[in-house]
Symmetry: C2
Subunit: 286 residues, 2 copies
């Protein structure tokens, strides 16, 4: 378990609860964090040297910010046990695959790119819990070079943690996530920063209600992680930003021109889609 925060810690807890692991070894640069993970019972032991930590492991999960992926791949390439499988939890897959190829000089068969569509605005092992992936989707984006057995083992791991596993290609993943996750986070961060700068005394926030609280909850997410996502999935995010910016201008023009019918049509279509989404996901744990 390279990186034992919300994502790695929750997977460790889920697999242990399911009886699907023997020993879980944590690795990262921060010994204090890792000791906390041991104290919580999330991992059994740790090593601050990644190359040492992965020796003898049959499954390696990389749950570090996207900006730290390349360093991990450099460290583990060549020291893995025969038959070991490596997968990750990064939110942008093309960038992870590029880092992997740069570190290994080729596309190794033992790496299965993955992304659990779950999380909270919290971070750190303190926030981890065994049920995080229950009923949630995990997307795997295996490459033509990826060993089918490796993909099957990663799928089985996530299913043991309670997740629903889908496969799609790297590019499609990055577009879908830019739309449903990266753009919303960017809008929430930008709105809150914009309002905070407008209002010196933060008086403006005193009159915000529940809708604002829900809308901006994701602006409490980890800034480093989201900076890395913006850099890593740049092209898909810029395309979505452009698309959204045009739609926002259309609505702005309708408001400027008192075009009540166009405004109503946009809001009605949005409500229809959002109400349908509520029904689809209404049975999940959250």
């Amino acid at each position: 378990m390279i990186g034992v925060g919300l994502i790695g810690g929750s997977l460790a807890r889920a697999l242990r609860k399911a009886g699907a692991v023997r020993e879980i070894i944590g690795a990262s640069r921060n010994a204090a964090h890792l000791q906390k993970a041991v104290d919580f019972g999330v991992i059994d032991r740790f090593d601050t040297d990644v190359a040492t930590a992965v020796q003898g492991a049959d499954m390696v999960f990389v749950a570090v910010p996207l900006g730290a992926m390349r360093g991990v791949f450099d460290a583990i390439n060549g020291v893995l046990a025969p038959g070991a499988v490596v997968t990750d939890g990064g939110s942008a897959k093309a960038a992870v695959v590029e880092d992997l190829q740069a570190a290994c000089g080729q596309t190794p068969p033992w790496f299965v790119p993955g992304h659990p569509i779950a999380g909270t605005e919290q971070s750190g092992v303190e926030a981890s819990f065994a049920e995080l992936y229950q009923g949630r989707r995990v997307i795997l984006t295996p490459l033509p070079e990826t060993d089918a057995t490796a993909t099957a083992r990663v799928r089985a791991m996530w299913e043991a943690a309670g997740a629903i596993v889908n496969e799609m290609d790297v590019g499609h993943h990055d577009e879908v996530l830019a739309a449903t996750s990266h753009l919303p986070h960017i809008l929430a961060f930008t709105l809150v920063e914009s309002l905070a700068r407008m209002s010196e005394k933060r008086e403006i926030f005193e009159y915000a209600a529940g809708g604002f609280r829900d809308f901006t909850r994701i602006a409490s997410s980890d800034p480093v992680m989201w900076r890395d996502i913006c850099i890593a999935n740049r092209d898909a995010i810029l395309a979505m930003l452009d698309h959204f910016g045009q739609d926002l201008q259309v609505l702005g023009s309708a408001i400027r021109n008192h075009d009540a019918d166009s405004i109503l049509r946009i809001f009605q279509d949005a409500k229809t889609a959002r109400d349908a989404f509520t029904v689809t996901t209404g049975t999940t744990a959250e």
Copy 2:
């Protein structure tokens, strides 16, 4: 109680629970809705004619969409009991005051413009509950012509319902609400409509997680109410949209230019402001 939906119905329930009312008379054009409100015990009786309903009332609360305010003011002007006080729950105050002045030919002393900062994405009397205003803010925007006794009575009414009452001028209210409520709703509606149009089979929504659900919850709000708000608070909303659009372009440029430091600074400032907001409002009921 003119309009017995989420806002009017919840106030009726709260005042009855507090023992602050004798008889509550509902008015709107829809007898079936009003009968439902009687069946739920929210109102005591109703009249589909507004002018008849307000006769003898000592307090009138107007809780209709902004587009219906003018018709209500036309109907009640001249038929109110001596000493009767009228207030409203509209989300944009300048537009309500304009409608009032147009209906009355002057600014009457008996009207206290008001706005409870509370609500859910639900609507209708079925969604109303007595605790909606508990610990929530209500903004009153009395005018120079408004009778101070009338303002005090409206304040006392909201305090009986559990709310915290603040006063500010009409223009400041409309700017603050454009920032913290109207803009977020517009962004959520636009994003969901934009994604729904991109994804014919709605496949895109299947991979959305809890962050997206929270962010877009307000896109399930009543389209007619929000169309009316966009028209009524047009100037303040367009100013905020412009301000936000510029900030979004700044972030887009930073992403395009791989300017990791600028991205991080924006996200960190947003997280700081949003985390402070969580603390401030952490004690409220919701």
